[in-house]
């Protein structure tokens, strides 16, 4: 029924001079499309990786982010001894009152300063986040002006290497270690002792409380109890829910991916159309010959659609190959709630590459539709006469 694929393939190759620009153009579009999606994936993965289903995060009612929240010491004392809270083997309640601050630090690449988050944590806070692991140096000593920063963050900010110094006003924090937070949101943070942080940054209160309820019933009870207590004006929610709401930051990137993808793909469709029109024009006699041999109009349409798809798929493959080296590459983007720089990893996954490839094929088919119809509409005789 149809012409062999090698016929289309060789035609694309033979015409490489006119197809190369189109292939590269489509490659670029696919690369951008895949990378933007990979970034959105990274952001989602980071949030998804962050929460522990058993943990509950308490912030002030109305606060969008921890850094803008205030939880008083009195709040902490009230909550600390509630029955619902689980206790560790030493009988201590598993609860951590923490301070989240924003400091400005110079970027390594010399493009000025950006905000970054410093979290004052407690030993319980570290127990609550087992995904955060020291990978280099040592942990901070409580009571000392020491900080351990995320390794991914260290790659982006000057002075964040071990032995480096983070400056904030008059204060200086010595970087003594690097941790890895397994792609979670903590990969965008620097951690220090909570009480030391309050004293250095002169804060009376905390930003948030992270705790572990004894069981699921306790969790539900605690959430309703805190919600009901109007005096406290606190909001308690599962850590997972809190971070999945932060995933909203991936939305602008997805919108950007959509807009940019649409605009660029329209361009790519026209490029493909141009190439395919030229291809049809230079092959009218060939089309006439095929028709004389018995190939139907439908076979001709199919032939040029396949050729356009093939051409575009080549671009798609090149585009995926262009995007692939950025897999795992970490980059920062502004978190729209804390205005702190958050680190994300591009995640170029096989299914994303397949999507990119499918996207390129759609571009190719859309671009070759009109040229293919023109080729099929040629009367056999006219096609035979044109030399």
């Amino acid at each position: 029924m149809a012409l062999p694929l090698k016929y289309n393939f060789r035609n694309v190759i033979v015409r490489w001079r006119s197809t190369l620009a189109t292939v590269l153009g489509i490659a670029l579009v696919v690369a951008v499309f895949v990378l933007l999606r990979a970034l959105a994936r990274g952001i989602e993965a980071s949030s998804a990786n962050t929460g522990d289903a058993r943990n509950i995060l308490v912030v002030r009612k109305g606060s969008q982010a921890e850094s803008g929240s205030i939880v008083t010491r009195e709040h902490f004392r009230t909550i600390q001894y509630l029955d619902e809270i689980a206790r560790n083997e030493r009988g201590e309640p598993i609860i951590s009152a923490e301070l989240v601050l924003i400091v400005s630090a110079p970027r390594r690449n010399g493009t000025g300063e950006a905000n970054t988050l410093i979290r004052g944590v407690t030993p319980r806070g570290m127990e609550l986040r087992p995904q955060v692991k020291l990978v280099d140096g040592r942990w901070f000593v409580p009571g000392k002006r020491e900080v351990v920063v995320a390794r991914r963050l260290a790659a982006r900010f000057a002075g964040f290497e071990i032995g480096g110094v983070i400056k904030s006003g008059q204060d200086r924090l010595a970087v003594v270690g690097h941790f890895d937070a397994a792609g979670s949101a903590f990969d965008s943070e620097s951690w220090m002792d909570a009480d030391e942080a309050r004293s250095i940054f002169d804060r009376e209160n905390y930003s948030s409380i992270l705790l572990r309820p004894a069981d699921a019933t306790a969790a539900t009870n605690l959430i309703t109890r805190l919600e009901r207590d109007k005096r406290l004006a606190l909001r308690a929610e599962r850590e997972v829910d809190y971070y999945s709401k932060q995933t909203m930051t991936a939305v602008p990137i997805k919108i950007l991916a959509g807009l940019l993808g649409t605009a660029m793909s329209i361009g790519a469709v026209f490029a493909a159309m141009n190439t395919m029109y030229a291809s049809v024009a230079s092959r009218t006699r060939e089309v006439g010959t095929l028709r004389v041999l018995g190939y139907s109009r439908r076979a001709i349409v199919l032939c040029f659609l396949i050729e356009g798809a093939l051409l575009a798929a080549m671009g798609g493959v090149v585009g995926c190959l262009l995007a692939l080296p950025l897999n795992g590459y970490a980059t920062g983007t502004m978190d729209f709630q804390s205005f702190a720089e958050t680190v994300f990893q591009f995640r170029v996954t096989p299914d994303l590459m397949l999507m990119g490839l499918a996207f390129s094929v759609i571009i190719g088919v859309a671009g070759s539709l009109l040229p293919a119809l023109r080729a099929a509409r040629l009367p056999v005789i006219v096609a035979l006469k044109s030399i």
Binding site: L3, P4, R10, L290, R291, S296, I381, I387
Partner: protein, 227 residues
């Protein structure tokens, strides 16, 4: 001995509308062609030779009249039936060979067979037989540009006969060939009529080419003339 007619043409007329004026390419032609004939179609340029050939081969349609090939009135077939009919019943040889440049000799000859139900193996056998018949089996993996004009035309003849059609039409097949290649190509067409029982209809300008045929007819201004 009575030989059945393979082509029966009755009152065939073809006019082209060119702006205001009507061009009559064929004027009320009636013609019978017997199976196994090697018919040459001669006449001055513009006399309607190609038009007649195209109508017989089912790539063009007359304005009026009837053209039966093996009993089937090809002027009444719809387009897709006509395409199938061409594939199964007519081999076409062009003046400028019309091989597909990106396909090898073998692949070019195989093209008409891809529309049939033949298996890969059967196709290979038929293609090889056709290429052998034109003496180019050893060139089957060559691209058209790696062949001489005469070889290209022989590949085209192999493509025309590979489906084993009863009728082979050729429109000035030697117009682009030197005299040695011309002799070769015409010899092959002639042997097809003599040994394989094919019917060949060939348009030519060249009286020496016409000498290969078993019968010659002349067209002038769209009409058959007797000599």
């Amino acid at each position: 001995m009575t030989v059945p007619n393979i082509v029966t043409i009755r009152d065939l007329t073809k006019t082209y509308q060119q702006g205001e004026i009507n061009v009559t390419a064929l004027n009320n032609i009636s013609l019978d062609i017997e199976a196994g004939e090697y018919l040459t179609l001669m006449g001055p340029s513009g006399s309607g030779k190609s038009t007649l050939l195209h109508i017989i081969a089912g790539v063009d349609r007359p304005t009026s009249g009837e053209c039966r090939v093996q009993g089937i009135d090809v002027t009444r077939l719809n387009e897709s039936d006509l395409a199938d009919w061409r594939n199964q019943n007519v081999g076409f040889v062009f003046q400028s060979f019309n091989l597909i440049p990106v396909l090898t000799a073998f692949e070019n000859v195989e093209l008409p067979l891809l529309l049939t139900r033949l298996s890969r193996k059967q196709r290979r056998e038929q293609v090889n037989t056709a290429l052998e018949l034109v003496g180019l089996l050893d060139r089957r993996h060559h691209l058209p540009k790696q062949l001489s004009g005469g070889q290209e035309q022989r590949v085209a003849i192999a493509r025309a006969i590979v489906t084993d059609p009863a009728l082979i039409v050729a429109d000035e097949p030697t117009g682009n060939l030197d005299s040695a290649s011309t002799q070769e190509a015409l010899g092959i067409l002639q042997s097809l009529t003599r040994t394989a029982g094919k019917t060949v209809i060939m348009v030519t300008h060249d009286p020496k080419a016409a000498a290969f045929g078993s019968r010659s007819i002349h067209l002038e201004k769209g009409e058959l003339v007797n000599e």
